[in-house]
């Protein structure tokens, strides 16, 4: 049977059809989870927040049509708000643990190469997590979800041009931060080597 599109499923879900909401859930659960996972850095919180996103969506689905947004953008906005609350509640925690699954996901035939790649990945993710909230959101939507500037604009409540300009500024600051981080890291490693 042909699955209904978002619009049809939404109308049915809003009129109380649990199966229609189930279809939407299955369509978006991985995307929302991935987004939250990269914003929080651990799978336990990502699962908890993903569940909360869908509970909130379920509760407010009757109000959805008034907002004039695609359903995915609406879900991302809910997720963004919940993640922002989560960060506020966990603001005392400086270092967010990176899941092992994130670092050791790729299995290759060259372990040395993989170690270097993982280190670089870890460094980059640490830098990304230190970026302002909106920039993190932009990078995740761009590189994880592969959304267009227009779609990102709908989620972030900005124009396409503003998203484009924010993206360029983000890449520039990321490059600067990465260079600084790398210099620091190299000097630290040199220091340790000299002591030995």
């Amino acid at each position: 049977m042909l699955e209904p599109n978002d619009e049809t499923a939404l109308v049915r879900a809003a009129s109380g059809d649990a199966d229609a909401f189930g279809i939407l859930y299955e369509r978006y659960v991985t995307r929302i989870y991935t987004y939250i996972y990269y914003r929080t850095g651990n799978s336990d919180d990502a699962e908890d927040l993903t569940a909360r996103v869908f509970y909130r969506a379920m509760r407010h689905i009757g109000n959805y049509h008034q907002r004039g947004l695609p359903f995915s953008a609406w879900l991302y906005r809910i997720a963004h708000n919940l993640v922002a609350n989560w960060h506020r509640d966990h603001s005392r925690r400086k270092e967010i643990p990176l899941d092992e699954t994130l670092i050791t996901r790729q299995i290759s035939e060259h372990p040395e190469h993989e170690v270097v790649l993982n280190e670089e990945r870890e460094r980059l993710l640490k830098i990304i997590r230190n970026l302002p909230d909106d920039r993190q959101q932009l990078l995740i939507l761009k590189f994880v979800e592969h959304l267009s500037n227009h779609e990102i604009g709908q989620i972030m409540g900005r124009s396409e041009g503003a998203v484009k300009s924010l993206y360029h500024r983000t890449l520039l600051s990321l490059r600067q931060e990465y260079d600084l981080f790398e210099d620091e890291w190299l000097s630290n490693n040199d220091g340790k080597g000299n002591k030995r």
């Binding site: 649990a18 991985t30 699962e47 379920m58 980059l124």
Partner: protein, 91 residues
């Protein structure tokens, strides 16, 4: 950047569990949401009614006060009507 963001998938048990929870709790949550909306609508309409009632009462009281003031001023003001002087007889 593409390398940094590896694709991640949620645990299948988690997805299945949440799907089950959604299916079982959907009607209860929807009913609760409808009840909440009705309660909110009731509160808003009661608030509006209160505001309108207060405004009406306010206008009425203000009108009564003005009327009383006018009466008071009229009572206090010396009468503008001259009384006719008594007619003296020439006898």
């Amino acid at each position: 950047m593409e390398n940094a963001f590896q694709p991640v998938t949620p645990r299948p048990e988690f997805v299945r569990r949440l799907r089950r929870e959604i299916a079982t709790q959907y009607y209860a949550i929807q009913d609760q949401a409808v009840a909440d909306r009705q309660k909110q609508a009731l509160l808003i309409s009661a608030g509006l009614f209160g505001v309108i009632l207060t405004l009406m009462m306010g206008i009425r009281i203000a009108a009564s006060l003005i009327a009383m003031l006018v009466l008071l001023l009229q009572w206090k003001r010396p009468s503008a009507i001259r009384l006719p002087a008594p007619v003296q007889s020439r006898k």
